[in-house]
Amino acid sequence: MAQDPYELLGVGRDASADDIKRAYRSLARKLHPDLNPGDADAEARFKAINAAHGLLSDADKRARFDRGEIDAEGQERAPPPPPGGRRWREHADGAEGARYRWHRGEAGSDDADAGEFEDLFADYLRRASAGARAGGPRRGSDVQYSLTVSFLDATLGATNRITLADDRTLDVKIPPGIETGGVLRLRGRGRPGREGGADGDALIEILVAPHPVFTRDGAVIRLDLPVSVREAVLGERVTVPTPGGSVAMRLPDNADEGTVLRLRGKGIAAHGDVPAGDVLVTLRLRIGPRDAGLVEALRNWQPPPDAPDPRAELMAALRRAGGEP
């Protein structure tokens, strides 16, 4: 068991941070293993004052130690039990006591009639209050459906018609931006209630079909856009498909392989207070077939001597990893 860190450093519990630092330094100078070779006792004490200083020099840890939340080794301490045997009773009679509800048989055995005592009571009272009426009004149960929607419908919003279990059809409004696993609740479209009880709800779990070109990434839609060398170098206008239709975009001067451009408001349609989302376009450079003219032009072209090495970053990363070939 570690000793009290204040005692170890020989300071009072109200010592200032400076007092603690001073006490630690003077002890460390005396007990340092280099000054006491072979002295196991000094080494042990040196370790102990280091640990004590580590605890007390951290204002947060020191405060927690003072409050008794952690011990001298910095370990969490369980809250001290209050005196007397009242503790279990307090817990067991509180709402959390349901954790230790009694049930017949061994753990894991099939005890379907486990003593749901509170439920029995509540049930009894409900029946009693329902009086002579058999059953009484009962809410209809919910019914679950799953619905696969296209990527574009999930992005822009749409209305899809589904056929319910009882052959009724239902128009489901797909809100823009819904993702796979999202659930739409249609009030009153589940099983009918009994004797004046409310109808249940239809719960529709949404599955969004993948799109061949667009992908969803949180609040944005991503798209890889192939561009030619000429388009990239000369910064030409290109046509970019978006979920809502194609738009024209001029490539910036410094466009390169992997450059990401943002098309504001061309992604997930606005819904509620959320404004329309963006499309992030990643440029993919395509050289294409070797045209004699291009080959000729490049052959006659000399990059300037100070042109950056396209592999500079790669080599730097290799060097940092200590694996220079």
Partner: protein, 121 residues
């Protein structure tokens, strides 16, 4: 705020060996939340439960007697919790309902006295 602690801290706090606590968990006498890594998260009530078991052990309650005592104890507390819920529900009820509840309680306890008074044994 309630604190959650590990089995090591429970054992240090209660001054017992880990294998004992693990045995109690297997027997469903202590019910901490299982963690994905095979460990357990003890809430304050679980800590209190461990202390209760330590106290019962100190009374030299045999292994065979322990489940009987625990089951009676748990049923007693189930009943007390249920009673508390009924009491709270009654306290929230409108005055006429409370009065009629009181009257029927009086009648019920009077007839209980009558039965025991006739010496039905």
């Amino acid at each position: 705020m309630s604190r959650i602690v590990t089995i090591e801290i429970v054992c240090r706090d209660a001054g017992i060996e880990q294998h004992l606590v693990r045995q109690w968990i297997e027997r469903d006498w202590v019910r901490p939340d299982p963690l994905p890594d095979g460990g357990f998260a003890f809430h304050e009530i679980d800590l209190a439960r461990v202390h209760l078991l330590v106290q019962l052990r100190a009374l030299e309650m045999g292994e065979a007697g322990m489940p009987v005592v625990l089951s009676l104890l748990d049923q007693l507390h189930d009943a007390r919790r249920a009673l508390r819920l009924v009491r709270e529900a009654a306290a929230r009820a409108p005055l006429p309902v409370r009065q009629s509840l009181l009257q029927s309680l009086d009648r019920a306890s009077a007839s209980a006295r009558d039965i025991s008074g006739t010496g039905e044994a």
